[in-house]
Amino acid sequence: MSQENKSAGIPLPNIFDRPANTVSLTINDIPVTVNRNSTILEAATKAGVHIPTLCHLALDGFDIHSETSSCRVCVVEVEGRPRLVTSCSEKVVEGMVVRTDSPRAIRGRRTNLELLLSNHPRACLTCAKNLDCELQKLARDMSIREITYKGERKRFDIEYSSRAIIKDPDKCIMCRRCETMCNDVQTVHVLSALGRGFDSVVGPAFHADLGETTCTFCGQCVAVCPTAALTEVNETSRVWRALHDEKKHVVVQVAPAVRVAIGEMFGMAPGSISTGKIATALRRLGFDAVFDTNWGADLTVVEEASELVSRIQNGGPMPILTSCCPAWVNFIESQFPDMLHIPSTSKSPMIMLGAMAKSYYAQERGIDPDSIVVVSIMPCLAKKAEAARPELSKDENQNVDIVISTREFGHMLQEIGIDFPNLVESDFDSLMGESTGASIIFGTTGGVIEAACRTAYEILMEEPLERVELTQLRGLEGIRSGTVMFGDTPIRIGIAHGLGNARRLLEGLRSGEYEFEAIEIMACPGGCIGGGGQPYHHGDMDVLQDRQRALYREDRNTPLRKSHENPMIRRIYDEFLGTPYGEKAHELLHTEYTAREKI
């Protein structure tokens, strides 16, 4: 470097006044000093210069990066370099002179974007990602008014057989973010680029349907797709049909993570708590009963904590694994078939509530269970596949009939013109709508096991747990551990979120590196707050933190904070279920797991 500078006759920059690990450069004449190893893009952000990106993905809080540099819409001019460089991958060097605003840089970015658009359906008006698409936003930001390049367009079949995820490769721009999530982050390894050149496409081996693969339907590919190449299967029309069918009694439930995210679709700040507005909105939509999945979560906690206590008292099997995350269940069934005896057999809160709606609620209200339609609003796409599992049914009836995502719910509200931010607040129906703070934190990593510990402690110790906030279990690190003292007995807890972390934790368990009494696993980074069905965060990790804080805030604001103290849970055991983890509970609230060999 110094020799090069001497030979070019450029004076050496004075590097002695600065820490050696920083680099100074100018971007559009603005001087900026950044850490060595920064990219031009990172330096530009610090200098307040916006460079458009498309394929680039950096979820720093989770150490998730996708750097394929394939879209080339971030190219900039660097003095002394013959070609434009991709600012997302090019590292800064001392004295670099960067221009993002030169005619050549602007023309380069426009050309690359136009080439991408020339091979795109451009059906924005009827696209699922209309006004939520990063490609569309770029076209607007760059004032594209016509596409000068005409040519062949790729054509592939749309795949939606899983009933959870739609894959429409015609809309794919080969950014490979989905591959990063599926392979590097989740370690599910279902997606790969297939073929080459113009015929290349991202998909499973042999162009198989997603349902034929080990896909867990976690939906993280959908969460990061910049276009509508990957979206959820839209079930809103089925919900409308049920609501307009007079012969049907349509009940609805809402997962905890939905209430801290739905507001984002209506311009509310991330982390706004919308519980009361959701209840009002659901009555406006015309649901016959408005239930809360939190109630189901309280029921799950009582069953799961009873199961934990039973395993502690009867010598195992240990550890117990939480089982409320359906993508995680799909993962363990196909990836760790030798460990299927350790997950809790408790059904998920969503399925428990569905099962109770079609048994207890139907009996209580004198309604024919066959006429009840259970709709679930979930932050999750795997919940769609979970609801369709044949074993989660009773007498030909699925426990849950239709699952829609937080996004689909938002779209239904927009469709009928509900002014969501200004809705008055109301309560969920009391019968299966009352809940505790323990159930609210189900929506974040660490929350389920914290809730379970609050109840298991009191069952086992037969004394009140004074300090309910088990902060040693909280955080956003991928793999965490903490110990909760049950009297003199330490209960060691392991927590993982993201399936790659789950894999590492289970492998550590197998090898003896880890020893735990209980483990919580959530498939999505952050837990359900970062679910594949949530409003798009477009790579902004602060959004997830805001959602997480909101859940803990709501827990603190709730008078009852232990699931077994929920009066409506006590009532259902007294009147209908008998004892927790007893015979009737087993019949209605527990399930089994099957090893699945897939590609």
């Binding site: 790969s192 080459r196 081996a205 590609i599």
Partner: protein
């Protein structure tokens, strides 16, 4: 929409034993996956899905990754080929010297559509390949390892007949 029907029993045990021995002889089979796939194709003639899945399971690599490699490199084939693979070079030099007419004539004489893998008797497959680096011989045709230079459409039937005879003599 399901279309994936895999029948692992089509794989010959002797072939798999030989492939296993090769994989076990490698210090790092995952790092040498292309060599493993070469070996599999050499033993089986082509790489059916079942064989790709077998390699994936045996090496512990994702099936999607294996299929990505197989469909990326033109050397690998997912469909069976005939005893003789006729590769007509359609690189620039051969193309301007009339390779397309030669290619069309081969398809016509062998009654082989573009998407058909081989002739009914299993004797011939046709490939169009990009430059094989013998531009001085344009248009050039390769039948397995044998090279024919300056090929004219009228010579096509003779080339076919020569190989038919060779196959008949061999059997």
């Amino acid at each position: 929409m399901s279309h994936l029907e895999l029948d692992m029993s089509i794989l010959e045990p002797e072939l798999l034993a030989e492939l296993d021995a090769y994989i076990d002889s490698l210090p790092d089979p995952r790092g040498s996956i292309i060599a493993v796939l070469h070996k599999a194709q050499e033993l089986n003639g082509y790489l059916p899905r079942e064989l790709q899945l077998y390699v994936a399971r045996r090496t512990g690599l994702p099936t999607a990754k294996i299929n990505g490699i197989v469909t990326f490199y033109s050397f690998f084939s997912e469909v069976p080929s005939g005893v003789y693979t006729i590769s007509v070079c359609t690189g620039t030099a051969c193309f301007v010297k009339g390779a397309q007419e030669v290619l069309d004539r081969f398809r016509e004489e062998l009654k082989l559509e573009e998407d058909e893998p081989m002739t009914e008797d299993g004797l011939f497959s046709i490939n169009d390949v990009r430059c094989i680096g013998a531009c001085g011989l344009a248009p050039v045709v390769r039948v397995n390892e044998r090279i024919f230079g300056h090929v004219k459409p009228d010579q096509v039937s003779e080339i076919i007949a020569q190989h038919r005879k060779e196959a008949a003599d061999a059997s």
